[in-house]
Symmetry: none
């Protein structure tokens, strides 16, 4: 049941509009706290920690829910929707749908042309 972030030491994520503090499990959007439920937080944290990388649905379902590939559920979509709602105007900038694969979090004002890091796997958290 526990959060994925039990012992997360990563420095907070920050960009022009969003702060995500992995210690406090707290998010600020334009300096206003936004309250995330545990699953919302887990999902966002996972995406943010792999900003710029595509994360397949399967990987999200496994890492956040512990679900294996055999489980059919729409809960990921619903959570993505709620996250987008809470991210307000920036939602579409931040959370990108990669059709047929998964989702990707993009930092605000990401370099206009994302430079693929050739030393990293094509997909984060490959399944």
């Amino acid at each position: 049941m526990g959060s994925l972030q039990e012992e997360n030491n990563m420095p907070p994520y920050r960009d022009e509009h969003l702060v995500l503090d992995f210690r406090e499990q707290l998010a600020l959007l334009d300096s206003q706290p936004i309250t995330l439920t545990r699953k919302e937080y887990d999902l966002l944290a996972l995406l943010v920690q792999h900003a710029g990388e595509i994360i397949p649905r399967e990987a999200l379902l496994l890492r956040v829910w512990g679900y294996g590939a055999e489980i059919r559920t729409r809960t990921l979509d619903v959570h993505i929707r709620r996250l987008r709602k809470k991210l307000g105007a920036y939602a579409d900038q931040y959370i990108e749908t990669i059709f047929g694969i998964g989702y990707r979090f993009q930092p605000f004002h990401a370099p206009r042309f994302f430079q693929p890091n050739l030393n990293k796997p094509a997909f984060a958290l490959g399944v």
Copy 2:
């Protein structure tokens, strides 16, 4: 198990409405003494000494009751309720429920939204 505050030297907590004297184990609400039972005092003192920080249920149950995670009880909720009752009109301002996690004491007139102190641990008294 005895009070947690046997030898507490901390200076009293004070804000606009509440004083909590850890030496005397005495509380004043708008200058009127309020009588707290031992457990009520222990619980409030622990929360107040970590004002602004979320304290997980588990930590409260451990520190005030000595209970380990395996014990299932509602006594914490009941004590929180009685504390809130005694804090009267300010109860909701002071004792915040963090759903699914625990409680947090907020000083009166705290900035409406607590600014995360990135040098502090995520949760007080981590469990």
